[in-house]
């Protein structure tokens, strides 16, 4: 109440200090400490031991499988997202908000349930189980199942990003292009694509981070066969459960590095195109 130049909507210095102090301590404890722990544990026996753990054949196989999975799942979901956003944002039709809710659905499903549903469809006792065995096709406990489960959990990322963005941009530019005789594809690539590229990249970035890091859904369908159906997060689990902590944290450090790069790129993209929508997953 000393009432000097402080603006009435500005908090007193001690309120600021208190709030900032609480926030920074909380964030430090909850968010920063785990990341620090990963790197400290990975380097516990020195850098060579950590690097050796990363170069282990099973670890390399896990890295390869994770990259392969992301390489299939992310473009698939990006293509789906663009397709869905074109239908939803550039046209008016009935049940539109219902369709958006359905596209969002995988975000509300537990990752374990996401894995389970594919076991019930493609597993040995599942709907197509007999047919798949007859034709000697493996989906569950094999790479296709891992890819499918990953597609499911990352399904909404790109669509969620593009639908509001394309709705904001309206249809005027596309209508102008079409009225000047451009084909649909031409309109998309020359008019829409330049407008949505940053939003698309943002969605792809988040989609990729989740695809490479997914654990629960993949764990259900993978079968945990070393060197064959283990992704990086699953490999971390196996090493950790074998008390090979340096190995587990070395692979975890790689994933941590991926997360940090993702956050850095995300921050850059937000500077290029300011974001006002609340992020999800």
């Amino acid at each position: 109440m000393s009432g000097r130049a402080r603006h009435p909507t500005e908090d007193a210095w001690w309120v600021k200090a208190l709030i900032l102090g609480v926030v920074l301590v909380f964030l430090g404890l909850v968010l920063v400490l785990p990341v620090a722990a990963v790197f400290v544990e990975a380097l516990r026996k020195g850098l060579p031991a950590a690097l050796e753990a990363m170069a282990d054949p099973d670890a390399l196989a896990a890295i390869r499988l994770t990259l392969l999975t992301a390489l299939i799942a992310v473009p698939f979901n990006a293509a789906f997202g663009v397709c869905a956003a074109w239908a939803v944002a550039k046209h008016e039709f009935r049940f539109k908000s219902f369709l958006i809710t359905l596209i969002d659905l995988p975000f509300s499903v537990s990752p374990v349930v996401a894995g389970l549903i594919y076991v019930l469809v493609f597993g040995a006792q599942g709907w197509f189980g007999d047919w798949l065995i007859e034709h000697d096709i493996k989906v569950i406990f094999a790479v296709p199942g891992i890819v499918l489960a990953t597609i499911f959990v990352t399904f909404p990322f790109v669509a969620r990003e593009l639908i509001p963005l394309m709705q904001e941009q309206g249809v005027d530019e596309e209508e102008a292009a079409v009225s000047l005789g451009a084909s649909g594809l031409r309109t998309f690539f020359s008019v829409t694509a330049p407008n949505i590229r940053w939003g698309l990249l943002y969605g792809v970035l988040l989609c990729n981070a989740r695809a490479m890091g997914e654990f629960g859904a993949v764990s259900v369908v993978s079968g945990h066969i070393r060197g064959l159906t283990n992704t990086m997060p699953l490999h971390v689990e196996i090493l950790y459960n074998e008390y090979n902590f340096v190995g587990a944290f070395a692979v975890a450090a790689l994933l941590c590095f991926l997360a940090i790069v993702t956050l850095a790129l995300k921050t850059v993209l937000e500077m290029v195109q300011p974001h006002t929508r609340p992020a999800r997953h």
């Binding site: 926030v23 389970l116 469809v121 890091g213 654990f215 629960g216 997060p233 997360a259």
Partner: protein, 297 residues
Amino acid sequence: MTTTALPAVEADVSARPPPRKANRPMLRRRSAIPGFGVTLGVTVAILSCIVLIPLSAVVIRSTGQGPAEFLDAAFSPRALAAYRLSFGAALVGALVNGLFGLPTAWALVRYDFPGKGLVNAVIDLPFALPTAVAGIALATIYAPNGWVGALLAPAGIKVAYTPLGVMVALTFIGLPFVVRTLEPVVRDLSTDVEEAAASLGASRFATMRRVILPALGPAWLTGFAMAFARAVGEYGSVIFIAGNMPYKSEIAPLLIIIELEQYDYAGAATVAVVMLAVSFLMLFVINGVQAWARRHT
């Protein structure tokens, strides 16, 4: 959707150029933009194959066994204990996030401090960090010989391998939901109202309590519900720190996996259906709160 009487002939392209009015409600406006049929068709087809049909499998499998078996599997003592832990710990995690998320969002919008950009980026860490990595890191920190666990052990507090550990993991997972939902609302909060309150003689504390907090209520509730919904189904970050003892520290998603490993597909599907039902209820609540907030702001 209200159907305004719009004769089909007038809606035809030949009737152009009609003056375009924004948000004209109708079944489907004839748009000059091509590709509607193809993109909608592909969207619905992929959505059905990847999401809807597989999801229906879990419902069909769980209801195919008869109502008595369904209830047995859905509400067995072990399942009930697992729901209690999953929902209870998710609730605690979401509450902790609600408590600390509000000052975090406030500080990020209103204050300037060194390292703000970094703090802003760090908030999203739980979205970017694979859950298994978070899980083994938290288990290590909170184990009796870990950085934090060693500090708590003399006080007799065990975190890792107890329900408390589950709460810690679910707090980690849910934080960005509360902060990122509150942030835009804090930013849009008009300072005029605060100035008016202050000029009418309200103390800063009274302004906070009577003006600011009520305005943030719906967003806070939405963020809380989203954090809760995510935490209920969370698996990767929890299992390493939970202890996974049946009836004590076993979460519902883990129970699904255990039943699956015992080839009890119907049992696993049943627990999954219960969890799905709760998730959809949460989705419904979140949409309801958001719709209510839009009407009242």
